[in-house]
Structure formats: C-alpha cells, structure tokens
C-alpha cells in the first residue's frame, strides 16, 4: 500500500530509519513535535538492524545480541506517535528545508521546520583490478541478502579487506551455514603500532571483548591470510580467480564469489546536495559534515546524526540521534524540553559509545594502494574511466573532480559518485601533490536518487501553472 505524507508541513522530518533516525524520530515525537520519519527500506532498522521487524532468521545467536537491540528502538518509535513511511526515497532537500520524496512511484513535497539527516554510511570503494567483474560484490550487499532473506554463499567464496564489519559478516555467514574458503586480511602491519597508543581506550570499550571473540570464532573455521599487500580479481566476463600477495609471496585461488570490504564512510550525497559544508577527515579518510556538538550543520535547521555525521557505529548513532532531536525540541518547543533526556546525560552516553573508536579508525585505516588505484583499474564504474584516464586528464589541466567532468564523465552517471568519488579525490590529490581538502569533491545535485520522468511529470502542479490554466 502506498501512503503519502499526511501533512504538507512538519516540525521535524527525519530521513533514514537506522539507529540514529529511529532514536531521533522517537525522541522528537515523544516531546510533541509533529514528526515524519522517511525511510528507503521496506522496514525499520537501516543496515545495522536491517529487517529487524521481518527477518526470517529467528535463532537470535546467529545475528548476535547487538542486532536485537534494534527491536527496542523500533518499539519506542512505534509508541511515540511519529508518522513513519517506508519505501520512501528522499530525492531532494534544499536549504529552505523543502523535501521531495518518492513513495511507491509517486512523488510528494513536504516542508520541515527541522530536518535530521540519518542517512548512514556507505561502503568505501575498493578499486582493485577486476572489481567490476560479476561475482565480485561488497560485503555489505552480501549482508543485506543474509539479513533480509537468510541467503548465504555456497560457492567458492573469498572475503578480502579489513574492518569490524568484515569479521561480523564472516561470523554471520558461518553461523548460517554459509561457505567461506579464505579470508584475505589487508590490514597494514604498521597500523598495529600506530593504533597502540589508543589501545587502552579500546580495551575498556564494549567493542573489545565482542570483537576478539568474533575473530576467534571465524579463525577457528576459516583460513585467514594476514598482511595482504596486493589483490586482484580476474576472469573472463565472470570472476574465476583471486590472486594476492602476502609476505612477498603471490598466490592465486579459484573463486566464484569475492566479497570486498574496507570499512564504511558517511553517505554524504543528500547532505552535500543540500549545500551542507563538509571537510576531509584525515583519520577516517572521507568527507564528514561540519557539525556543532548537537549535530547542527552549516545549513540552518538541518542536523546530521549517525554514521552520516562521521563513522561512529550503532551505539554512538543512537545517542547522536537523541542529541540532535533534543536540540530541535529545545529550539522549537522549549516547554517540552522536560520530556526529553537531559543533554548532559546524553553527552556522557556519547563519550562512552565513542570509546575505542580512534583505535579502530587507526587500526583499520585502509592502505593507500587499496584506495588509490593505478593503470587500467576502473575508477568510475558508470562511465568506465580508469585511473590512467584520470591521471592523463590531470596532466593536461584538470585540477579537481568537478573540472575533471570537462575531460571525462566521472561521477556523472547514475551513482552520482558514490562508487568513485573518494577514489577520484584521493587520486587527483596524490597526482597534484595537494591534500584531498584542497582538491575537493563533486558538487552533488538532486535528484539524489534517480526518479522517472513520468513520476516528475505527475507531481502536483505549481500554483503558477494552475493560475495560467484558469486564465486560459
């Protein structure tokens, strides 16, 4: 059933129903703000709690206790009185807080006094030779299938990359009876030393014990190769093998499926298209929005919470969602501020949730050679532009990602830079001897997700059109 928003204007519109969005919408609605939660998926949860209300996986242990925390958040939201619309793709947001949303093939416009963006994270591009072959996919895509349909790989499967999610996915696949032939760990040896000074915070964080036991669980069942310094997928129109170098030794193994993952980065497209200022984060190696302590962005009225505000994980996302919502309540309905959690308490929750993050960021900082490809490796999948193509354009005068569009169509395809943006920025920065901040990023424009011409043609006419018709 298709449900359009009930009103044309809301006090609060929250975009995204992951941990941050669920918490933000519930907090806002509990305080009495008219609240609309728009979410792209079929049910609440985002990626972390994907299919929390519908998963066919019933054995709780298989997805881990952390996953089921999502159920409480959903319950709180449903009791809060917030209006919730799923399968709702927000395709435009501007600095006037006008929102365009596509729901079941029809678009509607709503206006908000406050917006909280909780659009979460994307997997970082992993541009190795052969990464565009059928049979190579991201770990996140595999996890989506696992959570929503209990589908796990049964062919010869290799998982390559690094980061907490990689180990989580491996554990989940194994618990559901899936097959993993080998794990290729690309964590740089030097990262262990770099992360050491931050180890104390990590050891005392909730991540530590869980992470360690998960890695033990996986390593007991799968051959893990660490210190992988080179990685390539090959095959004729379909993945056939994965070759890698570890400890100076090259090895090639046959594979039907290669799952790649080297961490997640903020999903910035909607925020950037709204004109929100972003900065290059040199530790997390991505663009993060410039925010104040309550998550308010450079555009008045728009706050960002969750991993879209800088990667912090699910626990931090929940708290940041509450903080952003409380700040909005304080601004719009000061009298209701007593109904929401105290800011001081939330800030201490956040400090707790963020403990250990610097350690993880440092340890799992992807190596330059896995972020910045060379030669014939594809950078932009939509337009099939290689690393060499980009460097050739730099040599004849392209200075940044937007200028590059005059030479190559990088970033102009349907993905709007989601799969190439970071690579292009870092590649051009390296080639020009500049920082990514100086090089910049694509200027992103709506629609942030494509809509059909027919759908746009069917939106309600503007008042000016109606007047023109009346006048004849």
């Amino acid at each position: 059933m298709t449900v359009a928003p009930k009103r044309e204007a809301y006090d609060m519109v929250v975009i995204g129903a992951g941990p941050a969005g669920l918490a933000a919408a519930a907090t806002s609605a509990e305080a009495g703000l008219s609240t609309l939660l728009l979410d792209e998926n079929v049910g609440p949860g985002g990626q972390v709690f994907r299919a929390i209300a519908s998963t066919p996986v019933t054995e709780r242990n298989q997805l881990g206790a952390d996953y089921w925390v999502g159920a409480d958040l959903v319950q709180a939201l449903r009791a809060s009185g917030a209006e919730i619309i799923h399968r709702a793709t927000v395709w435009s947001l501007d600095r006037n807080l006008d929102i365009a949303v596509s729901i079941g093939g029809a678009s509607a416009f709503v206006k908000a006094k406050r917006v909280i963006l909780a659009t979460g994270a994307l997997e970082r591009p992993f541009p190795i030779p052969g990464w565009t072959l059928p049979g190579v996919m991201t770990a996140g895509a595999a996890q989506t299938m696992l959570k929503s349909s209990a589908l796990v790989p049964d062919g010869r499967t290799v998982i390559a990359g690094q980061g907490p999610l990689l180990w989580l996915l491996a554990a989940q696949i194994l618990r559901l009876g899936g097959r993993i032939d080998r794990i290729l760990d690309t964590t740089e040896r030097g990262n262990y030393f770099a992360a050491l000074p931050h180890a104390f915070a990590f050891l005392t964080s909730p991540y530590f014990a869980k992470g360690l036991s998960m890695m033990r669980e996986v390593k007991a069942k799968v051959q893990v190769v660490s210190g992988v310094t080179e990685l390539a997928a090959s095959g004729d129109g379909q993945l056939a093998s994965v070759s890698y170098v570890a400890g100076g030794k090259r090895e090639t193994i046959a594979a039907d499926l290669l799952l790649l993952h080297q961490g997640v980065v903020p999903n910035v497209n909607l925020a950037m298209s709204a004109g929100i200022e972003h900065r290059w984060d040199d530790l997390q190696l991505c663009w993060s929005p410039v925010l104040d302590a309550s998550g308010n962005s450079s555009v008045a009225g728009i706050a960002i919470a969750g991993d879209g505000a800088g990667i912090g994980g699910a626990n931090a996302a929940v708290v940041r969602g509450r903080i952003a919502a409380c700040a909005a309540v304080e601004a719009l309905a000061p009298a209701a501020a007593a109904k929401v959690p105290a800011m001081a308490m939330l800030r201490s929750d956040l400090a707790k949730a963020e403990r250990g993050r610097v350690f993880l960021d440092t340890l799992f900082r992807p190596a330059p050679h896995f972020r910045i490809p060379s030669g014939d490796t594809i950078v932009c999948r939509c337009e099939e532009v290689t690393a060499k193509d980009v460097l050739d354009s730099v040599a004849i005068g392209a200075t940044g990602p937007n200028q590059l569009k005059a030479y190559r169509r990088t970033g102009m395809g349907p993905c709007q830079g989601r799969l190439c943006g970071l690579t292009v920025t870092e590649l051009m920065a390296q080639a020009r001897g500049k920082s990514p901040q100086e090089i910049g990023y694509y200027r992103l424009r709506a629609p942030v997700k494509p809509i059909t011409l027919a759908e746009l043609a069917a939106v309600p006419k503007s008042e000016a059109d109606v007047r023109a018709v009346v006048r004849g």
Partner: protein
C-alpha cells in the same frame, strides 16, 4: 609592484576565455582572471546549444560569425569540444504557432538572413520522428548543433594559456581602477596593469560596470537543466518549442538533456542555486506529452548555472561609453554560449583594430548611456 600586460580580461567563462585566446592570436599578452575556475558557472553548465535559430535580430550577425568558428573549432582549439551539427528545430505545436513561424522566416529573409527555414509536418517528422503527430511544422536551422559546454570552455582556456595568456583562477579581481592611462586590477597579492580591460564577468559583470559608473538593467538568473539516464537513440537535432519553455537534446551516449529556461533561485554570494522542482515538473510534463518514448527514462541530475540576464534580453557588447580602454562583454541572457567563439574574435578586433566588420552596433552599452567619450 604591478605586472604590465596588454589586456586584463575579467571572467573565465566562454566569453572571457575566447577573448583572451583571440587577443593572443592577435599577438597580445592578456591576463585572464577568474574568481572560481574557468567554466564554473553558466559557461560550463549550460545546455551546450550551438544555435543561430530563433535569435534576436540585433545579435544574428554575431551569431553567424560565431557559427563559422564553431564549424572549424578543432582547428582553433585542438579539441573537438564534442561539437556536432544535426541542426536545431523549432517545433510549432499548432497552426497559430506555425503562422508565427512563417512570419518570422519571412522577416528574416527580407533582412537577408537565410539560416532559418520553414518546414512542414512531413519534414518535421523526417527530422524529429519521435515528436507528437499533432505538430504541424516549424523552423529548422540546419547548420546548428550542440557542444559540451565544460569541455569547450576548458578548451578555450587551455589554448589561451598555451598561446601566452596568463591565467589566474581561484582569486577574484579586486580594486579595479584607472590611473595614468592604465587599468589596474589586484588579484590576491598580485597586481596587473594594462591599457585594456574587458569586463566578461557574467553574473558579476553588472556590479563591475556599475562601480565604473555604467549601471545597466541586469539581473542574476539561474536557468535549470536536467539530464536523464541513457535511452535508445531516437533523435538527432536539438529541439526547442515555439510556445512552451522547452529545449531538448539527446547526446551520443544516449542521455537526454532537458532545458528551456525555467529558473532556479540563485545565491550569488554562495555560488549556489536552489532548484524549483515544481517548474522542472512542468518541463517533465511537456516532454511526457511530446515524446512518449521518454516516459520511462529516469532523471539522474538537475542543476542550474548562474548568469546575467538583461531587461531587453540583449547582451552588452562593445566599448564603454565612459572610459577609454574599457570593453564590456556580458549579459548574454541565457543564450551566450554559441556566441562565445565569435564574440571573442570580434572583441579582439575592436581592441586591436578599433573596429569590426561584424554588425554589433545595437548591442553596445551606449543604448543605456549616451557616449561621453
């Protein structure tokens, strides 16, 4: 300490870049100053229409001059600018509109212009098979076409620099003053001096003219465009409508550009525009009605470039009416891209020779300020 050059060109749009290039070709050493980067605004993000069709009569000679350069653009720039020439077609949606077309072509013919040609329903269908069958005809300008605007503007800039122009990007021209017969302009920590100053600053040019005592009726506008995903090839010429705001172009890669002059809200200080989706929906409806083949295409991106529009829709082009050595080249009012190559050539003639064979008399700033020179 000022650097002496032969000319200072302010504005790295297609006009400023073209003028800088043509000055180099004439043996001068200009400096080109662009506050962002060449092609950042309207010149780099417009529809790319290379159109003589449906122009105001006073700018037709400049447009024809420009067309000759477009047809040899590779020779000039060592870059094909993705220029292609499948004509531009103005579609009449009913008999009334066709009658207006007929009168227009007759008027042009009487003035000696033959580039616009009246076509009937059969020829329209031959040129644009996908158009709705109810359209009775229109006008074609067969030498017209389209180019890639960012590629073109960048190519002009690159060639100008190659031929000796100094290019300063990322810093605005500041503190413009005339002293001892020379124009002085600060660019960050640098300063340039030249006997000639060209004001080609697009949406920012009106302010420069006003500061120099020559205010003109100009506003800042941001016409919107949107582009679709790839669809099967179905159209070659650029199509514009007589009655409704629409321009339409399919590129070689299958993507379709939809424009027509609906406006976004510009924010000149921030270099930003806020799109008006309800107006874009009007464009979508027009395409939906005229080109049923497009209905399932997806819109991938929409944008708007900031530019200057004159109250009378005509550019300000030619020497200042107050200051010796000052030249204006702005206010192209949503149709300046095709004029860029020719306008640069003519501007260089005005500067170097003091005159030109191309008729531009109706475009001067003296239409607002009688000359005091």
């Amino acid at each position: 300490m000022s650097t002496n050059v032969d000319a200072i060109v302010i504005g790295g749009g297609i006009h400023g870049c073209s003028t800088a290039l043509h000055l180099c070709l004439a043996g001068l050493k200009p400096v080109l100053i662009e506050k962002d980067y060449a092609g950042r605004h309207a010149s780099g993000v417009n529809a790319g229409g290379v159109r003589q069709l449906a122009r105001h009569i006073p700018e037709i000679p400049l447009s024809i001059r420009s067309m000759g350069i477009w047809e040899k653009i590779s020779d000039l720039l060592d870059d094909d600018c993705s220029f292609e020439s499948y004509g531009q077609v103005l579609v009449a949606e009913n008999e009334d509109e066709l009658a207006i077309c007929r009168a227009r072509v007759a008027e042009l013919n009487a003035l000696g212009f033959t580039h616009e040609e009246l076509i009937d329903a059969a020829e329209l269908r031959r040129l644009v098979p996908a158009v709705a069958e109810t359209c009775p005809g229109g006008i074609v300008s067969r030498r017209d076409g389209a180019a890639n605007p960012a590629q073109t503007t960048t190519a002009f800039r690159r060639k100008a620099e190659l031929l000796g122009a100094t290019v300063r990007e990322g810093v605005a021209a500041d503190n413009i003053r005339h002293r001892d017969g020379l124009w002085h302009v600060d660019v960050g920590s640098e300063s340039f001096a030249a006997p000639v100053l060209v004001n080609a600053a697009g949406a920012w040019a009106g302010r420069i003219a006003a500061d120099l005592g020559e205010p003109v009726p100009v506003e800042t506008v941001a016409p919107m465009l949107m582009i679709t995903s790839r669809v099967l090839h179905f159209i070659d010429p650029v199509v514009i409508l007589r009655g409704r705001k629409l321009s339409f172009k399919q590129f070689k890669n299958g993507t379709v550009l939809i424009g027509g002059g609906h406006l976004a809200t510009p924010d000149q200080e921030r270099n930003e525009t806020v799109l008006d989706w309800k107006s874009l929906a009007t464009s979508a409806r027009t395409v939906f009605e005229l080109f049923p083949v497009m209905r399932s295409a997806t819109i991938v991106r929409a944008w708007a470039g900031i530019e200057a529009r004159m109250k009378d829709d005509l550019p300000v082009f030619g020497p200042s009416s107050r200051h010796k050595g000052l030249y204006h080249q702005f206010g192209f009012s949503l149709h300046g891209f095709q004029l860029g190559p020719g306008a640069g050539a003519v501007m260089a003639e005005l500067i170097v020779n003091g005159g030109t064979q191309t008729r531009i008399g109706d475009l001067g700033i003296d239409r607002f300020h009688p000359s005091t020179l």
